[in-house]
C-alpha cells in the first residue's frame, strides 16, 4: 500500500458492559463508547485519507496506526476525565510518541 492511496474500511462495534469489563481487566482502565469510537475513527480517518502505509501487519504497541488511535482515544479520555491510556495489547507505548 502506497502512502496517499485512500482505502475503504468497515468497522464493527461491540458496546457491551462485558467488553468494558474485559478491557478493564486487561488494562486497569475505565472506558466508554466515546473512547472506543474515537480510537476506531482514527483508523477510519487514516485509511480514508491514505495515511496507513506505515500500518504494521500485526497490531501492537509499536504500530504507528495503533499509536495514532490511542492518541485520539486519549483526547476523548481527557474530555471525559478518564485516565490516559499508555498501553496497547498489554505493552507500553513509547511515551515520546504519546501526545
Amino acid at each position: 500500500m502506497k502512502n496517499g492511496t485512500p482505502l475503504e474500511s468497515q468497522t464493527v462495534f461491540y458496546f457491551s458492559e462485558e467488553a468494558k469489563d474485559i478491557f478493564k481487566q486487561s488494562t486497569g482502565l475505565e472506558d466508554n463508547d466515546f473512547t472506543i469510537i474515537t480510537h476506531e475513527m482514527q483508523h477510519q480517518y487514516d485509511l480514508d485519507q491514505g495515511k496507513s502505509a506505515d500500518n504494521l501487519e500485526e497490531n501492537s504497541a509499536k504500530d504507528p496506526s495503533e499509536i495514532a488511535a490511542v492518541n485520539n482515544e486519549n483526547r476523548a479520555r481527557k474530555i471525559d476525565n478518564l485516565e490516559k491510556r499508555t498501553t496497547y495489547d498489554g505493552e507500553k507505548i513509547d511515551p515520546n510518541k504519546l501526545k
Binding site: A19, T27, H39, E57, S60, G90
Partner: protein
C-alpha cells in the same frame, strides 16, 4: 512367514489410514454456506474474521473474506465458490500466496503440542475462556507461536477475529 509379514504390513497401513481419518478436517458447512451466499460485490459481514489456507510453498496464509474473493476470482473460477471455500478451509487446496501479505510457517512446538494434546487441553494450554465458546490467547504467548495456534484452532472450527480496541485476538467456536 511371508504371509504373516504381508498381514502385518497391511495392518500397519490400516492403522495409518485410521490415524489420518481422525485428523480429517471438516470445516463448518453452515459458515461456508453463509460466506458463499453473500453478494460478492457488496461489503461482507465476515470482514473481520481470519481465514487460513495452505500456500504452494508450504507456508500458511491468513486471508480476509475479500482476499478469499480475490484468490477465487484469480485462479479458481472453474469451481463453485462454495466448493472452493470447502476445499480451501479443509486444507485440500494450495494457493499461490505470492501476492498475499500475511504468511507464516507453522511453529514446530505448537504443532507438537497440537498432535500430542486433546483439543480441550490444547485450548486450555494456550487460551483463556472469557465466556461459553469465546476465548482469548493467553498474554504470555510468544509472538511467533500465535498464528500457528490460531491456525490449529481454525482447523477445528474455532475462528478468530481481532479486538482492535484492546489489541487482542478473540476466538469463537463456530459449530
Amino acid at each position: 512367514m511371508k504371509k504373516n509379514r504381508i498381514i502385518l504390513i497391511l495392518l500397519f497401513f490400516a492403522f495409518c489410514l485410521s490415524c489420518n481419518t481422525n485428523h480429517e478436517i471438516s470445516f463448518d458447512k453452515k459458515l461456508i454456506k453463509s460466506i458463499s451466499d453473500e453478494n460478492k460485490y457488496l461489503p461482507s459481514r465476515f470482514f473481520n474474521l481470519f481465514f487460513f489456507c495452505k500456500c504452494q510453498n508450504e507456508e500458511i496464509s491468513i486471508l480476509s473474506v475479500y482476499e478469499l474473493r480475490e484468490v477465487y476470482h484469480n485462479g479458481f473460477k472453474n469451481m463453485y465458490y462454495k466448493d472452493f471455500l470447502t476445499e480451501l478451509f479443509n486444507q485440500k487446496l494450495k494457493v499461490d500466496c505470492t501476492l498475499l501479505n500475511n504468511k507464516f510457517k507453522i511453529n514446530a512446538d505448537v504443532q507438537k503440542n497440537f498432535l500430542k494434546m486433546t483439543l480441550v487441553d490444547f485450548i486450555n494450554f494456550y487460551c483463556v475462556k472469557k465466556r461459553e465458546n469465546i476465548f482469548w490467547l493467553k498474554n504470555d504467548i510468544a509472538e511467533e507461536s500465535k498464528k500457528s495456534i490460531l491456525y490449529f484452532l481454525f482447523l477445528n472450527n474455532y475462528i478468530t477475529n481481532i479486538d482492535d480496541y484492546n489489541g487482542s485476538f478473540v476466538i469463537m467456536k463456530v459449530s
